[in-house]
C-alpha cells in the first residue's frame, strides 16, 4: 500500500472512526486451551462452522427428496456437483475423480466462506493468509504425495522438460523446481490477497460515503454498489481458480507429461 493511499485511508478512518482493517481482526469468543495449544473459538471459527453448516444444509436439503426431475434446490446441488465433477474430469481425467470429494469440499468451503464474507457484519475466513496457506499446503502436500506414490522417484522427471537441449536443463530444472515449490504460495496468496483487497476497498469507499456526507457521498456509494457486484464475482472466481488449479496440479501428479 503506497503512502498516498495510506493517508487517504487514515483520513477516512479518522473522519468516520472506521478502520478498514478492523474487519479482519480475530476476536476470541470462547477462550479454550488444549495440550498447551490455543484452540479458542473465535469469530473465524464461528464463520467456518457457519460455512460448513450452510454447505451441508444445502447438500442435505437438495438431496433429501431426490426426484427424477429435480426441483429448484435439487438443481442447485446437482449443478454444483456436475460443475465440480466436470472440472475434475476435464482437468485431471477420470482417474482424478477419485479425489473429487476433496476438490468438491475445497471448492464449496472456499465459495461459502467468500460468499458469507459479502454480507455486512460477517467475517471472511479466506481473508487470512494462514487459512488459505493451510488449504494450499494440503493441496500441495497431497498432490506431491500422490505424485510420488504413483510414479515413484520418476515423479522428479516433472522438473525435466522434454525436448530441451541438455545444456539448457542447468537453467530450466531449477526454474521448474522453484515454480513447483511456489505453487502453494501463489495459490494461497492469490485467494487471500483478492479477499483482503476487495473487502478493504469496500470499507475504504464506505468510509468515503460517511465522510463526504449527503452531498458528496453518492459517488463512492455508486462505486460501492458496482464493487459489490464485482466482489461477488471475484468470490466465485477465486473459489473456482483455487479448485481448478488444484485439479491441474493433481493432473501433473496423475499423468506426467514431461
Amino acid at each position: 500500500m503506497s503512502a498516498d493511499t495510506g493517508t487517504v485511508v487514515e483520513t477516512a478512518a479518522e473522519g468516520s472512526g472506521i478502520d478498514p482493517m478492523h474487519q479482519f481482526v480475530i476476536q476470541t469468543k470462547i477462550p479454550l486451551e488444549l495440550f498447551g495449544i490455543d484452540v479458542s473459538f473465535t469469530n473465524s471459527a464461528m464463520f467456518m462452522v457457519i460455512a460448513v453448516i450452510l454447505v451441508s444444509g444445502l447438500m442435505i436439503a437438495g438431496s433429501r427428496k431426490a426426484t427424477l426431475v429435480p426441483g429448484r434446490l435439487q438443481s442447485v446441488t446437482e449443478l454444483s456437483y456436475e460443475f465440480v465433477a466436470n472440472m475434475v474430469r476435464d482437468n485431471a481425467g477420470t482417474e482424478g475423480l477419485k479425489y473429487f470429494p476433496f476438490i468438491f469440499t475445497l471448492f464449496m468451503f472456499i465459495l461459502a466462506s467468500n460468499m458469507i464474507g459479502m454480507f455486512p457484519y460477517t467475517f471472511t475466513v479466506t481473508s487470512h493468509i494462514i487459512v488459505t496457506f493451510a488449504l494450499a499446503a494440503i493441496v500441495f502436500l497431497g498432490v506431491t504425495a500422490i505424485g510420488f506414490a504413483k510414479n515413484g522417484i520418476g515423479y522428479l522427471g516433472l522438473f525435466v522438460p522434454s525436448g530441451v537441449p541438455k545444456v539448457m536443463l542447468i537453467i530450466l530444472v531449477p526454474i521448474e523446481v522453484i515454480s513447483y515449490l511456489t505453487r502453494p504460495v501463489s495459490l494461497s496468496v492469490r485467494l487471500f490477497a483478492n479477499m483482503m483487497a476487495g473487502h478493504t476497498m469496500l470499507k475504504v469507499f464506505a468510509g468515503f460515503v460517511v465522510s463526504l456526507g449527503v452531498i458528496g457521498g453518492w459517488l463512492p456509494l455508486g462505486f460501492m454498489v458496482a464493487l459489490t457486484g464485482l466482489e461477488v464475482m471475484i468470490a466465485f472466481l477465486q473459489a473456482y481458480v483455487f479448485a481448478i488449479l488444484s485439479c491441474i496440479y493433481l493432473n501433473d501428479a496423475l499423468h506426467m507429461h514431461h
Binding site: 479454550l32 490455543d38 451441508s56 447438500m59 446441488t77 456437483y81 470429494p101 468438491f104 464449496m108 493451510a134
Partner: protein, 161 residues
C-alpha cells in the same frame, strides 16, 4: 495487519482442520454419494428410455416390413387367382361355345338334309303337277286326251332342256 498476528494462527488452523475435515467426511460419505446416485439413476433411466425407444422403433420397422411383404405377397396371390379364374372361365366358355357350335352345325346339317328332301319331293311334285297341267292344257287346246304317262315324259324332257 491482523493477518500477521501469529497468536491467532493456532486457533484458526485447529478450527479450519476441524471444520474442513468434518465437511469433507460429511460430503464424501453422505451427501455426494447420494447426489451422485440420483444423477447416475437419471442417466441410467434416460439411457434405458432411449434403448426402449430404439427397440420399439425397430419393432415398428419390422412390423412395417412384414406388412409390406405380406401386402406384396397378397397382391401376387391375387394376380395368380385372377389369372386362374380368367383361364378357367375362358376354358369353360370355349367348351360351351364349341358345344353350341357343334350342336348348331348338327342342326344346320339336319336342316340341309331336310331341305334337300323337301326340295326333291317338291321337284317330284312339280313334275306331277306339270304333267297334270300339261294333260289339262292339251285337252283344252286340242281336245285330245293324252295319257298321263306321255305327258309326264314330255314334261321331263322339257324340264331336262
Amino acid at each position: 495487519m491482523p493477518q500477521l498476528d501469529f497468536s491467532t494462527f493456532a486457533p484458526q488452523l485447529v478450527w479450519l482442520f476441524i471444520t474442513f475435515v468434518g465437511l469433507y467426511l460429511f460430503l464424501a460419505k453422505v451427501a455426494l454419494p447420494r447426489i451422485g446416485g440420483v444423477i447416475e439413476q437419471r442417466r441410467d433411466r434416460i439411457a434405458d428410455d432411449l434403448d426402449e425407444a430404439a427397440r420399439l422403433k425397430a419393432q415398428t420397422d419390422d412390423a412395417i416390413a412384414a406388412y409390406e411383404t405380406s401386402l406384396a405377397l397378397a397382391k401376387a396371390k391375387a394376380l395368380v387367382i385372377a389369372q386362374e379364374t380368367r383361364d378357367v372361365l375362358s376354358a369353360e366358355t370355349d367348351k360351351e361355345r364349341s358345344k353350341v357350335e357343334a350342336m348348331l352345325s348338327e342342326k344346320a346339317r339336319e336342316a340341309e338334309v331336310r331341305i334337300a328332301k323337301t326340295k326333291q319331293k317338291a321337284v317330284a311334285n312339280i313334275k306331277d303337277v306339270a304333267a297334270d297341267t300339261a294333260q289339262a292344257i292339251v285337252q283344252k287346246l286340242i281336245d285330245k286326251k293324252v295319257t298321263k304317262k306321255s305327258a309326264s315324259v314330255s314334261v321331263t324332257s322339257a324340264m331336262g332342256k
